[in-house]
């Protein structure tokens, strides 16, 4: 019945072919860009963020080569000089070169930011996985996390620093503890939703043991949201570190960090603003870079963002 309404191809030879008019292009053609370069082109935020961050990283690593002097060398005779060809960012109250101090300060900031992001992600991931899989532990862990989250991270970090002496290592530990609840909550939420995925059910039906399910089916799928979260934690850790150092509860004064450079310049803010200004600019740029990277990654990794229609 149905196929009777189509003529066999051979019957067509003698009749004219009715061709449809060609359709014009409404939009200019797009050249598809694939591979790594295509990814970068589609995600300019990542390029901007990662680029700035790389510059900061280079500054931190190569600080001794970037025309710096000893950042801790005191020179009472040359106190509070204005920025000049000799002292690019001027000198502070003790005559130390602010340019060198700011550049070396990058090390502390990045070290704290990256370490906290990494440590709190790893620990938060572990806690989140346990809490998402072990039902009896979940309510206990989550109540503890709720309790910790009711204290602002900065206050918690200050309290923890008060218990110990100031060192970069202790700053990292204190901020990490303060950030763990956030990551744990995120991971737990992701784990609970992943556990409901049909592919996890199918793996259970296929006889896969729970540890393998976590390792193979849950963990890889938590990495994208955790990476994004880690960048935000990195940015926040840098700010918290600067605040801790600023109020004298962080990095010891012997190690230059943006926070304690600003703290030392605070008293002269009205007359010699550059001592505070330069470390502040560096902090802002670095935090901006990390946040840009995070936003870019979020957009690129979130499947819900319909990038390709």
């Amino acid at each position: 019945m149905a196929s009777a309404t189509v003529v066999a191809p051979a019957a067509l030879t003698s009749r004219d072919v009715a061709a449809a008019p060609p359709m014009p292009d409404v939009l200019p053609p797009v050249k598809p860009r694939r591979g790594f370069l295509g990814f970068l082109r589609r995600n300019p935020t990542i390029v901007a963020g990662a680029g700035l961050l790389l510059v900061m990283l280079a500054i931190a690593i190569f600080a001794p080569l970037l025309f710096t002097t000893d950042p801790t060398a005191l020179a009472p005779a040359r106190r509070t000089r204005e920025p000049s060809a000799m002292y690019w960012f001027g000198t502070d109250m003790l005559g130390r070169d602010v340019y060198s101090r700011v550049l070396y300060g990058t090390r502390v900031s990045l070290l704290v930011g990256f370490s906290v992001a990494l440590l709190s992600s790893v620990i938060g991931l572990t806690i989140g996985l346990i809490s998402g899989f072990v039902r009896w532990a979940d309510s206990i862990i989550m109540r503890i996390m709720d309790g910790m989250m009711s204290i602002p991270p900065i206050l918690l970090a200050i309290a923890l620093m008060a218990l110990t002496r100031g060192s970069v290592q202790n700053v990292i530990i204190a901020i990490t503890i303060a950030e763990i609840p956030r990551v744990s909550r995120l991971v737990r939420g992701v784990v609970l939703s992943l556990r409901e995925q049909p592919y996890v059910d199918a793996a259970v039906a296929a006889g896969t043991r729970t540890p393998v399910i976590i390792w193979r089916h849950i963990l890889p799928n938590t990495l994208a949201p955790i990476t994004v979260q880690a960048t935000y934690i990195c940015a926040s850790a840098m700010i918290v570190e600067a605040i801790l150092s600023f109020i004298g509860a962080g990095t010891p004064p012997i190690i230059p960090s943006w926070g304690n450079i600003m703290a030392e310049g605070r008293a002269l803010w009205q007359v010699k603003p550059y001592i505070v200004f330069f470390p502040a600019i560096f902090l802002s740029i670095t935090v901006l870079a990390v946040n840009l990277l995070g936003d870019g990654l979020r957009d690129a990794l979130d499947p819900r963002m319909a990038k390709r229609l």
Binding site: D201, A202, A205, A206, G207, P220
Partner: protein, 345 residues
Amino acid sequence: MTALLEVTELKKHFPIRGGFFGGTTGHVYAVDGISFHIERGETLALVGESGCGKSTVGKAILRLFDITAGQVVLDGKRIDDMTAATLRPLRRRVQVVFQDPFSSLNPRMRVRDILAEPIRNFGLARDARDLEERVAKLMDTVRLPRDAVNRWPHEFSGGQRQRIGIARALAAEPDLIVCDEAVSALDVSVKAQIVNLLQDLQQELGLALLFISHDLAIVEHMTHRVAVMYLGKIVEVAPKRSLFAAPKHPYTEALLSAVPVPMPGAQRERIILRGDVPSPINPPKGCRFHTRCPYVFDRCRTEEPKLAAPRTAMAPGHVAACHLHDRPDSENPLAVAKGEAVIPV
């Protein structure tokens, strides 16, 4: 010989947690005492509307959670109370294909690893070469090119992903596959491809299928027997032809008459049910269908009907849970075969 799968008085109640301390404030009576069996090589369809508990039944058989009450017996062995370790080797015999071709494959695993997982878990391959050979054969079985094993799930279309899902189920060499709405999310033309594939596989491999679906036309095409669920209960079970030609439960009759058919202007008797399905948290007393039944009478509101074979059933094995069949035929609108009236031809 015993049936491949025998389910008796299966219940699954989900607790509703609420309040500050997370106490139980009520239950969702998702599945509330159902019994059925599946023979080797047979397709049993479980049909019903969303929320009737049909998917919960599928997951209970797969032991994806513990059941509240009842028994699930696979090939003579009771599996509902086994420990996880004793159960694991038996899991090989019951596999699953899910509805959504996108969320049913781990996006971070290549097709090869997806198919190898059950083979490794159950120790089905002798060595690495045998494993590779088995994966390649599975691709042949589901009509996908062998070299596609190196690709990621997102590189495939919905229909192709569903084929991968079927191949994963077959990898364990099961006796029974639970198809949970396995073709519902697919486009018409792709759906036909997958339906044909499932039918071919069943013939070739002698598989039994539990075909969970809301699509009656596909069910009629695919299955041998049909069980109709409503609000956590099975209301009718029958061999396919008997069910479609002479439904013996008012709900089945209404379902059949509600399916839109691609025949413009077709004449048919329409039974449009009023209202909505009641909540499974607080199911109605008596017959659960009485709030929407066009033939309801007093007894239905108080006494719950049991599954029983109506006198007027067309074939043996046809049971329905309806008080109408205790009445004289003259007072029973379902005494006659209504299939021809409600399905246009």
